[in-house]
Symmetry: C2
Subunit: 113 residues, 2 copies
């Protein structure tokens, strides 16, 4: 369940345009038109990027009159951060333990080399 949610969130964050859109949305909600202004892209391209962000659960697009107002939904972001934070801590811990054992501690105590 969280499985492919992570796929979508990380994939959404892997594009600099989408990260820039998220940064912009951090300053407050904005319409699609407003959001596409700073980019050398068509309206449609930005709309697609927003679709990706929306499907990843990072952004909510709400119809208001003839425009769509977008805003950040930080819940999905939290999934990704939680994954990274847990793994980073875990891995760093493991690596420290391994380094403390001269650096070859593959767990197999065969003593060779």
């Amino acid at each position: 369940m969280v499985e492919y949610t992570l796929d979508r969130v990380f994939k959404a964050l892997a594009d600099p345009t989408r990260r820039a859109i998220l940064d912009r949305l951090a300053a407050g909600e904005a319409t699609v038109g407003h959001l596409s202004e700073p980019f050398p892209l068509t309206f449609a391209a930005v709309s697609k990027h927003l679709g990706v962000l929306e499907r990843a659960g990072l952004v909510i697009r709400e119809a208001r009159g003839r425009e769509r107002v977008c805003r950040i939904d930080p819940a999905a972001l939290d999934d990704a951060r939680a994954w990274l934070e847990f793994h980073e801590r875990f891995w760093t811990e493991r690596l420290n333990a391994l380094n403390a054992l001269v650096g070859t501690g593959s767990g197999k105590p065969d003593g060779s080399r």
Copy 2:
């Protein structure tokens, strides 16, 4: 500089096979062959995934005899975590502030609607 590093790290993390490989490597270093065992994939496919992880700076592959031993490099992971943590905190803060203002705070005080 950090710019496309983030692209590569997030893209690398967007694939469940690659996340599984990283999880496996957290238990200690392993050869490519050893790593590909649990996956219904060819050797070559896993080797490619390791290439992606390596170019993202997440994994180091070191030749040892005729095999390649892989291990995690948590430095790049830290870049991603730092990005997410900063943004999450920032966004959540912003959202809380906005919510406190009834929810329409676009920053433009034109008073319409």
